[in-house]
């Protein structure tokens, strides 16, 4: 973790980003740039964000524009991804659902981050009883499978976009708490933190100035992976009819509708699922790429590979 921050410092002192000969270290973005898979995932994610933002302008048809005379049409020039049982354009609905899916994923992960990271840092830094209590709470939450807990939360509240965000956010909170705690524990014993403490630096300053910057690597990686799982979880909830409610389009909801038309309209089940798959895969690959760059152990390997 310490190495990451040192490199960060070097990169800012040396805007050209060239490796300093003494350490042989390279700027993080240079390593990322040398990683085609990661670059590609960034490109795909950019496209997804553009589609989400420009949805009203690029969708060829209205989201709920029904035309029963053109129901269950296979993919054609007029309807690239076919039409559903009500004659709605599948592609337009997939495009419109992109924004909703991203919003929910981002909002729930931000929630989990804002709650989980402070809890984890506190537990890791303070230790003792606070740590024991907080971590037992985290253990309890981990005893429930993710989707099951989300389902239970939706069962309590009424299904809808806000509930979906809360459910996924709550379920992901302990993951962030655990990652933040583990990193904090490893940084807390570093000499520079010990020295700072003996010098009488107040606790909050140590947390802000020394701990936080040094644990960002694992947390950034976790954020990217969590976004992937948040999209999956939202899709699963919507598929079960407990996430986004019709008539609002959602990838999972479209797949649920498609189930009744498996033998007549393969396009209804193939395309929405492909949208989920691509979005999830992109966040997962990005997370993996970031880990290669931000995790000191992986990073050394990546640098070695670069030199070869």
């Amino acid at each position: 973790m310490k190495q990451t921050s040192e490199t960060g410092g070097e990169a800012s002192q040396d805007p050209s980003g060239s490796a300093s000969p003494a350490s042989g270290r390279v700027a993080a973005w240079k390593l990322l740039a040398a990683h085609p898979v990661t670059l590609f995932s960034i490109f795909v994610l950019t496209c997804i964000v553009v589609v989400a933002l420009a949805a009203p302008w690029i969708a060829p048809y209205g989201v709920n524009q029904t035309d029963v005379s053109r129901a269950l049409q296979p993919p054609s020039a007029a309807h690239w991804m076919g039409t559903d049982d009500l004659g709605r354009d599948v592609m337009s609905r997939i495009i419109a659902a992109t924004g909703t899916s991203m919003q929910i994923a981002v909002a729930s992960v931000v929630f989990a981050f804002m709650v989980g990271v402070p809890i984890g840092i506190l537990a890791g830094y303070v230790g003792g009883l606070v740590d024991a209590v907080l971590m037992r709470v985290v253990d309890v939450m981990f005893a429930f499978p993710v989707l099951l807990l989300a389902l239970a939360i939706v069962a309590i509240l009424t299904p809808g976009q806000l509930t979906t965000m809360i459910a996924i956010g709550v379920v992901f909170t302990p993951i962030f708490a655990r990652v933040a705690r583990a990193s904090t524990l490893s940084v807390r014993v570093e000499p520079f933190v010990q020295v700072s403490r003996t010098m009488g630096t107040p606790g909050w300053w140590i947390l802000l100035r020394h701990i936080l910057p040094n644990i960002t690597g694992p947390i950034v990686v976790q954020t990217s992976l969590s976004l992937a799982f948040a999209i999956l979880s939202e899709a699963a909830l919507s598929f079960l009819g407990l996430g986004i409610q019709p008539p609002y389009p959602s990838w999972g909801g479209m797949l649920f509708d498609a189930q009744g038309f498996m033998s007549q309209a393969w396009w209804m089940s193939v395309f929405p699922g492909a949208a989920i798959f691509i979005a999830v895969l992109a966040f997962n690959l990005l997370g993996d790429g970031l880990r290669d760059v931000l995790d000191p152990k992986q990073r050394t390997l990546a640098e070695l590979r670069r030199k070869r």
Partner: protein, 321 residues
């Protein structure tokens, strides 16, 4: 390296206490579930079937009219004796309904885990032994695909190809193993492949990582420099040691599979716990949801406990920590 029996007992004791604390927390959460429902859960569950008599009867049966503290102790007490209340929907004991569904879920989860391991162990070993080469890259990317694919979509694709397309396998239904092993196998194949692919993808990464760690150990280098055949080194020195940590992950995966089966069971109309939870959420059958959540969480704790113990038995270093 053998540990004294006392250390083993101590370790088991600590693990037991930890599990008990977490179990208590789990029960607090499942108890809170029904308390947190805004409004009156019984009224909500009855919906359009509401009459004063049915309301009073259900209220009394569920004990929700009593003070919360009393309810909590009653809940803990009766749960300990296996009484999880009565289903709002059917009026039958929750425990009975849960155990009716359990075999279907366990047989699907077991078959899924088996497929997952059959994919993960060879793929992970193969990738790790060819680290940084093409095979490794292919396995890593493929496992990313497996992790990213929504399981319910995968199930639908399998149905599209093998049921509605080729007509080889049924798209839904369940036959208990006890009734007809062959029939069960036909029914379980598609859902188990669905569950196993995702589990296999995750496990592959752990097998690969564990193998890499072991392959760089001194004793492996020693074995190689002694001139042992590569196959002997791979099987006896690397695979055997690498698969120990995989045991833990496989245990955790079994729990993840239990969660994943909810959607897969819905896709394949598999009458297991997941399907039960789904139906119960739809009909606001809170005692049923409460019971199913508790049962799955307890199974998760139990699996983890067993895995921890096995792990400590297999690897003495764990007990020292």
């Amino acid at each position: 390296m053998r540990m004294s029996p006392r250390a083993v007992t101590r370790f088991l004791g600590m693990r037991l206490i930890h599990s008990a604390v977490v179990l208590f927390g789990v029960m607090v959460v499942t108890f809170a579930l029904i308390q947190l429902v805004p409004g009156d859960p019984v009224r909500l569950a009855l919906g359009t079937r509401y009459t004063q008599e049915s309301y009073d009867a259900l209220m009394a049966a569920s004990g929700l009219d009593r003070p919360m503290g009393e309810q909590f102790f009653a809940y803990i007490g009766s749960a300990a004796t296996g009484d999880l209340g009565v289903s709002f929907r059917s009026g039958q004991p929750v425990t009975v309904l849960l155990f009716e569904r359990l075999p279907a879920t366990l047989s699907l989860a077991g078959a899924g885990l088996l497929i997952g391991l059959l994919i993960a162990v060879p793929a992970g070993l193969w990738a790790a032994l060819r680290e940084g080469r093409l095979a490794d890259g292919v396995v890593r990317i493929t496992s990313q695909f497996g992790v990213s694919i929504p399981d319910f979509w995968m199930g639908m694709l399998l149905i599209l190809v093998f049921s509605t397309g080729l007509g080889w396998l049924p798209s839904s239904g369940y036959i208990p193993i006890s009734e007809s092993p062959g029939g069960w196998l036909r029914q379980v194949t598609l859902p188990a492949i669905t569950v196993g692919t995702v589990a296999g993808a995750i496990l592959t990464r752990y097998v690969r990582a564990a193998t890499l760690e072991v392959a760089n150990m001194g004793y492996v280098r020693t074995a190689k420099s002694k001139g042992l055949a590569p196959s002997v080194v791979t099987l006896r020195h690397i695979a055997r040691n690498a698969l120990v940590p995989v045991l833990t992950v496989a245990g955790i995966q079994l729990a993840t599979i239990l969660s994943g089966v909810i959607v897969v069971e819905v896709v394949f109309a598999w009458p297991g716990l997941g399907r039960l939870v789904f139906d119960s959420v739809a009909s606001r059958d809170y005692p049923m949801i409460q019971g199913a959540v508790l049962l799955i969480a307890v199974m998760f704790l139990l699996i983890n406990f067993i895995v921890d113990v096995l792990y400590a038995v297999v690897d003495p270093r764990i007990r020292l920590a």
